[in-house]
Symmetry: D3
Subunit: 297 residues, 6 copies
């Protein structure tokens, strides 16, 4: 067939087939859609500049102007987020529109009311980065060039929404951070203050992890699940504790893998690079590979 | 020298030197250029919204409007892609312009005609993600927040172009996916339905891999080449089978490395995390590290 | 509280709290800010199109036009970069404005004067990619789809600024490359010509690394520090040699970890995948895991 | 009051007052809004490029591409216009949504079906400009730099919608043309082929005008109403014939004013500059001011 | 000279000459600049959407959202306008920065505090348009397609700033309206409620005009100055009453010219089209041209 | 027909008809197109900021930066304009591509070499506005809010191109000014220094006008042609002198119309408002309407 004819005659059929297939599996009306997804990214950028005012799109050193700029951002984002949450509460949780709207508004007020507290925790994360990396020379550098801060800022927001039982949106947030930084923290993970991930690419932190204070993690570390139980239909059973607990003051070096919901790393422990660990270790442990030296010819 | 003079007097010389050096190695006329690269990214976004209409830039629940929007996107992208393919066929394959244009048009029609089939396969990939991750709560969540779906959607398109012998463009597509997701699948790899990559950062799947149905892969897995033979000039010999075969129903855990064109993982096998494997294993194998437990002090 | 009231009454207080907390730890006036960060990204894009004129935003095959376009880009970027460097020299190095301006201008002229030399080195990197990957079919493909080239282009620029003692900005540049490619090269690292990183996701190259000529590295390789000494206050001592030396013609396979400032990999050595190495190896070494074969059931 | 307090405390009250006042007079839900207004402008630009394909945003000399581009534009604009018309039919004409949608779709199909005919008429207008202005050198120049063509193109579209009883939208279109060109043609005016307005600024053509073929008008000409009758409440009676008839082959020079619904300018007449005319003149008239020569001292 | 050389060698000289000439007559540092000009346009658009909330960029029917949107717009615009006014007060009125800032803030608060009152007056202008034009069918149509409303909205804002002795900015506002509508109202003119200009192109209303309530003006009307007195140096004496007074309930038809600061049009008068009037007329006058009928051959 | 079917089945036919009709009258390949038109507007904005550096998009008070910014703008615009002129010289003047390119480059160098001289003349125009309008308070105000300056700036550029026999482009420039200001000056008109147009809407200045020094014109003034002679085919004879000569120090008040190529207004004359003049007047004339006073009842 000639291109011209094909464009006029076949494309409408292909488009129709694609739309029809999509409708067999998804509701187009109910989806938050591409625009919703982009709005969430925009909200996160606004929240980031509220938490760190020197990251405002256009800031000046005039106090009134900074306050207005952040206030405006927060108001706008509060409404946008409230609308999106309302939508997913209707679609995923089957609330009616009035209840969903009311609940969405409560959730958003709840979240933003916690921003001063979140901000304080993020300052401890910045301090942990400063203390933990000899290569850095200032906290300003950390704010502008450490993926860890970007990932943990987004996580601490997404985690609040996760705790408030908001569907989908926290995961879109965490995946946004993952795309930017290579650090994949499920919004369900509970993470204490003074948290630092160095370099970060390939880090995976699972949904039911709990991480204490002052924990430091290097690139390529997985805090994951062991194989998970299936229900009678062969589907994974959702909602059970599957990921490890990391207690205070633990350091986990690059490429280490720690698996399982009943695996606990006791406080003050150090886990060496490339370690594969599926069992608990007590406080103050130092875990290194006992493998023979590499074969050098 | 003062900045002002340098800007006026030296910059033109530096610019000229840079252009001249570039021309020693590259043709500027023949390059697809920055604009071509950006166009490919835009085409992929249009294709994505055609495959998943809820990801349209602006969609509504009106059926006619969705169909028109996707039809328009496909028409526009078909022409843009056809133009780019025509260009690379002239430059890389030395076709004359008329032949290149005709062949490019056939290739594009071929590709888009397969979209309904590709879409069906992608639905199996979504199902595999749903079945394979206890953390997910809906297929909507998968569509909006799983890098695996983004990577495999682009791969299934790029792979068709690869099979149709289109130079360069499939690789630009796969690298685009790599940049977004950390998942690096060469467009040459052949991948069966119900494919799922969890987390995904650091996954590498080589050009001559074949992967069966219902395969699940975790972050950091490499399906790569062993050292490759050189020709008499010391250059790598291109185009030979270098990467492994993964049969149906195989699971490969995080950080495993499987190398070599004559390495086959038999169906229903499970490859443990961090495994380094350069030989075939039979069906139903379970491969775990036999290394001693880590040294815990 | 009703949303409406909360937006009017509480948001100003939350904004004020966030601004006040920020000011306790950061200076808003002195920060390069979001705009500065975005300007650095834009400068890097301009530099990239100067180094590779076929990547110009809008290029044509007309020689005068290409030269003008690149000259204009360089002039504009030179001024933007000079302004930003001036700012950080005042804030971080406590220079007065006049000295900072003069020094910033010198630094920028120094940097851009080296572009022809940098370009020549980048051509060796492209050649190394062509020689080192059997999957590639042309250098054009390498330019448009190899993350290695993007990462090393940015690194060679950032490294010049690092050597000229510019604070913060080189790190923002390297983190920009890290976000795009998953390759994290500290601007302090010294890297010889004919350098190639295949796939690249998860590669970490530390600040005080030195890498010789014709070195090839695969995804997931870490060239890092061993645990670092603390000063009497428990803070890491900054500025000491912490990362390994890689001599000429070394190949390091995927996932290998090489640590320590006194670790040297002798020339012509090959380091196998997933190797964990904290000691030097002599020239011509081949280092493979001596671990037993995996346990296959 | 200090600015800061005022921004936080008074602005919400002022905003509320403004919204409340607006609601006393207008419905916010029912308004086509700023976005609707902008959409109409965008539709007109798309229609213009459909009528004159060399005015496409990005056109090429490839036939298929031009056709696709215009087809896509028309499809998109047809849906956008249909949606807006549906909205105003509900709001202004009190149709129910189903009827309004059906009627809007008919109207749009009607309009666009007439485009080939409208295009032919516009070609006569271009010819009239070419014949009527010694300063022009090509029809290409007319297309790109004559406000007359822009105004009459939009008028011929708006007039079709006016005849199809679409409220508001035709007037938004005509005012858009007025803003661009200074030529104010009410969409109700009926205008024959070969129509040309030279310079055009200040031309006003009223709602119930009829203008024959081959009429030429200069800047500042008004074809207006005499004082209009009021109803018993003192409101102007709407919908009666108020503006003049201009027959074929008439020329009206700059600044002339012709008023009244029963004023007819007979064919082949010439009306001189600055003439004030409130009565009919027969065919072949030449109307000049009989005023004495100006007083020259 | 060859183009290439000329671009490198001559352009810097031409640029330098142009900058030097500019500096002979203007201060670059003190100018509000292109950005300031664009900011004023943006502020006017924000003010317009505050005065008419259905013209918000993105509005919805949700009350909270509209209020937040307008509140945010007003806050942002208040700060932007305050900054610009501060700048012109320093440059034109030679205030010091602190006084200028304080005064600018007062002026902006003053202006925006009057918005509810301005809005009420604008509603009378809309009503006057509705009453005065038989062609209109709804007030919605007037809001979206009458240049008069756009011009008078901007005038009522600019006039407040003029009364508060703000230099330059009110004129930039009025010229913005002039460019959009062809209606040129000097911000100094005082205009009563229920004001309507039909069609409007070419209307000029001078700085010291006073216009009463319920006045209606047609296109091309000039309310201007007679020749003005010069001072001893031959410069026009600024700041004296030069333009006419129009009392309540006057109608002035198209093209009429009324000149002079001591010319008063008494209330309830009607001035005919194209009238040239340089003297006062009493109440209830009807002024028509006594010129002979045009010469019709 | 249902909308859906019509969109798929009829739109391609309508698009094809419109393209075919267009091709009967215009060449799509040869047109400068929408993009060319937009480029001309962009060039004019760049030229404006070169002539008045305080109108740069982003200017600073740093001398080097302003010079670079203007130099870059001029270089870019020189190439863009040269390309467009080359195109029209091929299409309209039938030059071959090489000759057209060479000639276009000469024309552009010629034009921009005159910018310092044009700038000096524009300063006299600014002075004339300052001297001629008692309402203005500063030359800064004139630059930012007088349409006269915008129109005459563009005219002085377009006129140079007209004198260099560039087709079409000067008229696109003059119509751009016309759309912005309501002032329509044909690029052929020759205008002396110290030129000022007050208010300006509706002013028309014809192609073969010559205007001396220190001339002041008010809104609505036409300097036009009398009826023009036709050739044997009934087409207007192009290229003959059709518009009046205005000598030095003439003032022409609002709405005056002066017609004819052999009409000369002697120096130091004053032409009153609304005058209709088709004959020459000697030096020092004062021309006022001798019409009786209006009829006042």
């Amino acid at each position: 067939m000639k291109l011209n004819e094909w464009l006029n005659n076949e494309i409408p059929n292909i488009a129709k087939t694609l739309v029809d297939v999509h409708k067999d599996y998804f509701s187009i009306e109910k989806s938050i859609g591409f625009e919703g997804q982009e709005t969430i990214y925009k909200i996160l950028q606004n929240f980031r500049s509220a938490l760190f005012p020197c990251l405002c799109d256009k800031y000046s050193s005039d106090n009134t102007r900074i306050n207005v700029s952040i206030g405006n951002n927060l108001r706008k984002s509060a409404l946008d987020l409230s609308e999106l949450i309302g939508k997913v509460l209707v679609n995923e949780n089957a609330l009616n529109e009035t209840d969903a709207k009311r609940k969405a508004e409560e959730i958003v007020m709840n979240l933003i009311n916690k921003f001063p507290e979140i901000r304080k925790t993020l300052q401890t994360d910045i301090q942990a980065a400063y203390d933990g990396d000899p290569a850095t020379t200032s906290t300003e550098e950390i704010l502008f060039s450490y993926p860890s801060i970007q990932a943990i800022s987004i996580h601490r927001i997404a985690h609040e929404l996760y705790k408030l039982n908001v569907p989908i949106i926290p995961r879109i947030m965490s995946e946004y951070a993952h795309g930017l930084t290579g650090i994949d923290i499920h919004p369900g993970a509970s993470i204490g203050e003074y948290f630092f991930i160095d370099h970060g690419t390939g880090v995976v932190i699972g949904e039911t992890c709990t991480i204490g204070k002052n924990v430091k993690i290097y690139q390529g570390v997985t805090l994951g699940a062991k194989s998970f139980p299936l229900d009678e239909n062969g589907n994974p059973i959702k909602g059970i504790k599957r990921h490890p607990n990391i207690e205070d003051n633990v350091v986990i070096y690059a490429g280490a893998t720690i698996l399982g919901g009943d695996t606990t790393i006791g406080q003050n422990s150090v886990i060496g690079g490339n370690i594969w660990l599926t069992q608990s270790v007590p406080e103050n442990s130092k875990v290194y590979n006992s493998q023979p030296l590499p074969n050098i010819k």
